[in-house]
Structure formats: C-alpha cells, structure tokens
Symmetry: C2
Subunit: 417 residues, 2 copies
C-alpha cells in the first residue's frame, strides 16, 4: 500500500510550547518521508478536519518549522469544539474518517488535553469499525497539568515558571513598598478545577516570601484566609496571595461571582483577584494591588521552561515514532525516574486509560491549613520549571513565526459544523 | 575638611531597574573612597532619612552590590511620602539636614520621579539657607517616563518591553483561538496621566497584530472605539486592546469607575480592562479575555530591556561623577543623538527645570483617530526596548539578591513622621 499522509491538529487553549510539539511531529515526519507522506494540519483544530480545511505543511520551509519550537500559541489555529459521543454525533466522526480517506491520511496526531484525548480515542475506535485504518496518537498538552498517567503535561512547566517568576518579582516589589503603601499583592492565575498553576506560586517561599495560595481543591474559608494574610503582614510587613480562578465557596460559588451589578443593572464579570483584594481591604484595612495574568501566563514563551520546551518537542517526536512502530490509540507520556537529579523517560499510555480522567493535586501536595504547598509538592514542581529557553529577538521583540498556512485543495462536498 | 559620606534613597513606585541605578551609585562611590566616605541608604526611602533609619551599605559585599544590577524592586525599601512645600513643612526639611549633619553626609542622591526631583531641589535650596552644604543630585526613575529634559527615564524601557512582548504573545494566543472562542483580548497597563506605557503595545503592529490603544491623553469615545474594534475583528478575525489605567471619559471619570456595587452595597473597585471587555461583549457580542498586568509589568526584570538596564546604571554612576565634579541641584539625563543606529550621551539638567514638570506623549506620537501610535513614536520607542539582559537563574528561578540592610547607630532624638 502506498504510504499514508498524516493529519495534525491543535486543540483547546493554546500554550507557550504546543508549537514545539508541532515542530517535533513535523520534523520527525520529514525525517521519515519513506513512510509518511505529507503532514496536513487542521486549520483551527479539528474544525479544519470536519470542514476539509487542511493546511499543507510541506509548503513551510525547514526554518519556519524549526521556528515553531520557540513560537507560542497555536500556529495552525486551535478551537474549542468538543465532539459529542459517538452515539450523539456519529455523523461528525464519520466525516472525519471521510476526510482522512479522501486525503489518504493514515496517521492522526491530536495535540490537546482531556477532551481531545477522548476524541482521539473515539476516532481510533470508529476507524476500526468503519474499516478505514487510522493510527490515532494523542500528543498531550495542557497548562492545567490534569492529564492522568503522564507525570506532567507540556505547557504546564512554562506557565508554572511564569507564575513563580512573576510571584517572586511582584513580591519583591510589594516588599519594597510595604512601609507606607501596598502591603498585599494578589495575583489571579488560571486553573478552574486543578490548582497546579496556583501551586507554582508557592515555589518562592524558599526565598523568604510569605505566600498564601487559594486552591480550587480547597473550599474557601474567609476567616482562616484573612487571619493568615494578617499574620503574614504582621510578621513580614507584607503578603502575597496567589488565587486560582477556580477558588470557590463551600456552596460551589466561585469567588469571582459576587453578584455585582453595573450602573445599568448588568451582572458584572470580574476576576477573583479584585474580590480577594477588596475583602482584605475591608476586613484588615491593608492597601493592596492586584493583577490578573490571564493569557499572559500561558503565552509567555519569553520565560518558558527549558524542561517544558524539551518535553513538548520530545512528545511530538515520540508520537510519530510510536505511529511508525504501529501503535494506535495511545499517548506518549513523561515517566519520572527521579526528582533530583531530575530524570525521566518517554513512555506510552493507552488512550482508553487517559480519556475522561482528570488528575487533581494530590492531598499531600497541599499543606494542612490549605494555603500552601508541601515539600513533596516542591520536589515535584521544581524540575518542571528548570532551565531557560529564550526565543531569538530582533529590535527588542521575539521573532516568533507566522506560517503561510497554505490550504490543500478540497475534494469533498461542504460540511456544516 | 574630612571627606563626606553619601546618602542614597529610593522613592515612589519601584521598577525593574532602580536597583541598577543603586548599583551604579554605590559601585562608583566605592571607586572614589578618597573622596566619598560611606554610602548610607534610607530604609524605605526618605522616611529612613527623617527617622534616622540609615542602612550602612559598606556591610554589603561587592558581589551583593553587583547583584543589584539584575534585581528588580527597591533593595532598601521605597516609600510614597511626598514632602510638602518648604513653607508648609520646614520642620521635615530641617530634620533632613540635621540627620545629614549628624552622619557627616555631604552628598544626597535621590532616585525617583517628579516628586522626588522636587524634594531634591528643595533640599539643595535649604542646605544653602541653613549653611550646611549638601550636594543634591537626582537620579531619574519612573516607569511613567514623564520626566522632562531627559529623553527617557530608567524603568520605562523595561516596562515598555514587557508590555510589547506580552501584547505580542497574548495576541498570538487570541489569534489562535478566534475561530471558535476568544476574539478580543484586553490588556490593562499602568499610566494614570501619560500613555507612554500603553504606547508600547503599538510596537507589535508591524508583526501584523491589530491593536487598539486607549490613552489617558485621549478622551474616551465609546462609539468610535467599538467601531474600531469591530472593524479589526471583521478584517483580522481578532483584536487586541491595550488600555491605560488612566483612560477616562470626557467628564474626567475613569473607565474603571463604573459605580458598581457588590452584594453588600460597597463600591466595587475594578480595573479598566474588565469594563472595556464587557462593553465590547455587550455591544458586539465578541467573546473576550482580559488581563491586568499591574506590578507584574514594572517588576518584570526577567524580560528587562538591556538599553534600560545600561542607562539606569549609567545614570547612577553619572550622579556620583557629577557630585565629584562639584555639581549640585542637578539630574543626569539621557540625551538622544540618533534613533537608528541608536546613540545617546549622558547629559545634565538643573533640578529647577525638572521639578514639577510632567512630560506627556507629544500629539504627533498618537495617530489621528486616537487609537494608535505613529511611525515617529515607533522610532522613539524602538531603541528603548532593545537588547535582553537576563538575570542569572538557579533551580528555575532568578537569583535576585536580598541585602542584609544593617542599620547605622542612631545619634539623634526620635522624629515622628
């Protein structure tokens, strides 16, 4: 049988290193032209496959593909589009297979988090049922670090480094100002369900910074929280608070949902940080500043973790190598061997065990009072933020690449998503 | 007469490079031990002088002082404490002179913005009147970039670089997501009166990013703003907005003041970014994300501008050299010679011309529609963000220094501030 083409797509929220995985996939495929034809990428993720909007990556130079290694965001576009169950929407899964068949695609590399692992798993099941063989390999990616089996997820190490560095720098700032001005600095970070990103703020404690962390895994206790902040201000003169966007009250209500209304009576969408900051001001009277990092944290390729960039590339590379070895319905993983010195191997997990499983922070990673991280957690996190991997700069700005993203000619009828 | 000691203090909001100026002052003073005795630093700025809480910098090793060059924040503590006019509070100015006299201080190096230039000027006037000679030299520092005469202010170049890099990265992110998710990203930046920091967001336009800037110098026109954002989304699929905290309506009301109330009826303090984001959502229906950089921007030494770090050091060094040449009541300045290649000289300005003058963005730096920066502005800004000057790292985090800050024994009676 003639050699098959490959399809690669990016899914869900993008990261500082998802393109490094794309680089790993494409560069490795280019090294095996005897076995893999062209690599097509989905324009805007899986939607590109459904609408037959494929990008021909062979139109990109080796230099442009190499530049993906240091370019944040999703170079081919990503999307938030969850395919429903096979029963509920068989039509979409069948369309994927049709598109793959029309373009002689035999390899499906899907780069995303839990939802995309599930989609990838279903595609492999359906391709079997439909008699058109597709090797479906999931490439892990999520700043939330919540995929099972793999020790960590590409994207997380860099956002953790960004949060740790930013927490350190802002804490030095507030320490300088605390005598007459700001005494409490509140930083809001991502993490709707899992507190991995917030945990990274705790890494600066060893540098003498008092940090109070509000995890989504711990129900918010306002009294205990205020007492902890006040004790820090009394002892150190200042306090830093890292609040996860997913921090919530015992009744499940997010801190950010304060039922505030604007002048027109509209519900006001705010962040958790200003809510926490105002709470401290009201109860304790301390002057505050707050920041919401939002996209800045997950896009911050300028301060990416070298470990993370390396692993993102390795997992993209491993995905292709697993496919070439004949594997299907699997995900390459990071298997930690030791903390210090940090050693790991690239392993493999069956998608059946990855799909729909969410990995939360282990209980013994959070201190008993619920506001900090344990030594065990620090041992886990520290290797993941190690090393710097700076992008090249010109005229003061990183020279990130924007690809040409040339479309492949369509062969099928239009399909509405 | 015996050689005099020097006093150095940091004033107002700290920056990523104010310690580089401190490094320039102290290292240069250490090279002239024949003429300058000890360098004392004010603990928490000028309050340290008023309360006779002086730090003996001779207790710090050369290595620790050298590390100031790459450590953000104010290593000796800063303060927001504006001395009133000589008439209104002669008592405080006289106290400063008393403390200087008690500790044989003949050089006053004050590192700050407009207010501290004014204080520095008044100290030089009073020392003359009181017959105790003090050479008062102001070392410029402000992320707001609003001091007159000097072409730019240390601290600004690094915050401008942070904002430009962050705007670029977050814009790449939203561009990836725009097909099915976020179409507008709003970043709030510092700048209550002057839009220099917001202007830096415009530097990414040449990389194909549509950016709408809201300056404090331009009265907010909601209709024109929404039309501009919508046109960008229609043309590019996405839009980035950089909003200055000082952006306001024609009646002077800040965008951030929306008269919102929480569940208890308290006025809710929010940022301008969520207000702008919700305005776009309400009028145009576009999904948004927003970030508030706050302290992260001015503390971001990890992505400092090499030009800025160098100038901060040079101006600290120049301050000492000017003092040694007998100057008084002056401020060293950056005098631009050419844009490209960027050349400048270190000059000098009399404090009488610096104090109480605020430099806003020139009109020809802002585009006619009020939402962007001109080519002239880009020529001005580009050199200021050039070059990278990374701090050293260990275990994934920058190894910023925390000084010992040993107190000098007091000689005077207590003084209440």
């Amino acid at each position: 049988m003639a050699k098959k083409n490959a399809f690669y797509a990016q899914s869900g929220g993008v990261t500082a290193v998802i393109n490094a995985s794309a680089c790993g996939v494409i560069e490795t495929a280019r090294k095996h032209k005897d076995k893999i034809g062209k690599v097509y990428a989905g324009r805007n993720g899986i939607i590109g496959a459904l609408t037959e909007d494929l990008i021909d990556t062979t139109k990109e130079s080796d230099e442009a593909i190499a530049a993906l290694r240091y370019t944040p965001s999703g170079a081919f576009g990503s999307c938030r589009y969850k395919l429903k169950s096979l029963e509920a929407n068989k039509r979409e899964y069948e369309r994927l297979i049709e598109v793959f068949k029309a373009h002689n695609i035999g390899y499906f590399f899907y780069n995303g988090g839990g939802d995309s692992a599930d989609t990838c798993f279903k595609v492999s099941q359906l391709s079997e049922a439909m008699g058109y063989p597709i090797q479906a390999i999931h490439v892990p990616k999520t700043v939330d670090n919540d995929l099972p089996i793999t020790d960590c997820c590409p994207g997380f190490g860099s956002v953790a480094k960004y949060i740790a560095v930013s927490t350190l720098e802002a804490s030095y700032d507030v320490r300088s100002m605390a005598k007459t001005s700001t005494k409490v600095f509140v930083l809001e970070v991502m993490g709707r369900h899992a507190g991995w990103i917030a945990a990274a703020g705790g890494l600066v404690e060893d540098q003498g910074i008092p940090v109070v962390i509000l995890f989504p895994e711990v129900e918010f206790n306002q009294e205990a929280f205020l007492a902890k902040v006040d004790a820090n201000v009394k002892k150190h003169g200042f306090c830093t608070v890292v609040v996860s966007e997913g921090c919530h009250y015992p009744d499940g209500r997010f801190l950010a949902e304060q039922g505030t209304r604007d002048a027109f009576g509209h519900a006001q969408l705010g962040g958790a940080a200003p809510v926490v900051a105002n709470m401290i001001k009201d109860a304790l009277g301390h002057k505050f500043h707050w920041a919401v990092a939002d996209y800045l944290q997950r896009a911050a390729r300028h301060v990416a973790s070298k470990t993370d960039v390396k692993q993102a590339y390795q997992l993209g590379k491993a995905a292709v190598e697993l496919a070439l070895k004949g594997h299907n319905s699997v995900m390459p993983t990071v298997d930690r061997v030791s903390d210090a010195p940090y050693k790991y191997k690239i392993g493999m997990a069956p998608l059946a065990k990855v799909a729909n499983v969410e990995k939360m922070m282990p209980k013994d990673f959070i201190t008993k009072d619920g506001f900090g991280i344990t030594a065990k957690c620090k041992r886990y996190l520290t290797p993941l933020i190690q090393g710097e991997d700076y992008p090249p700069y010109a005229d003061g700005l990183p020279t990130y690449v924007t690809l040409k993203n040339v479309a492949v000619a369509k062969k099928l009828k239009e399909f509405k998503v």
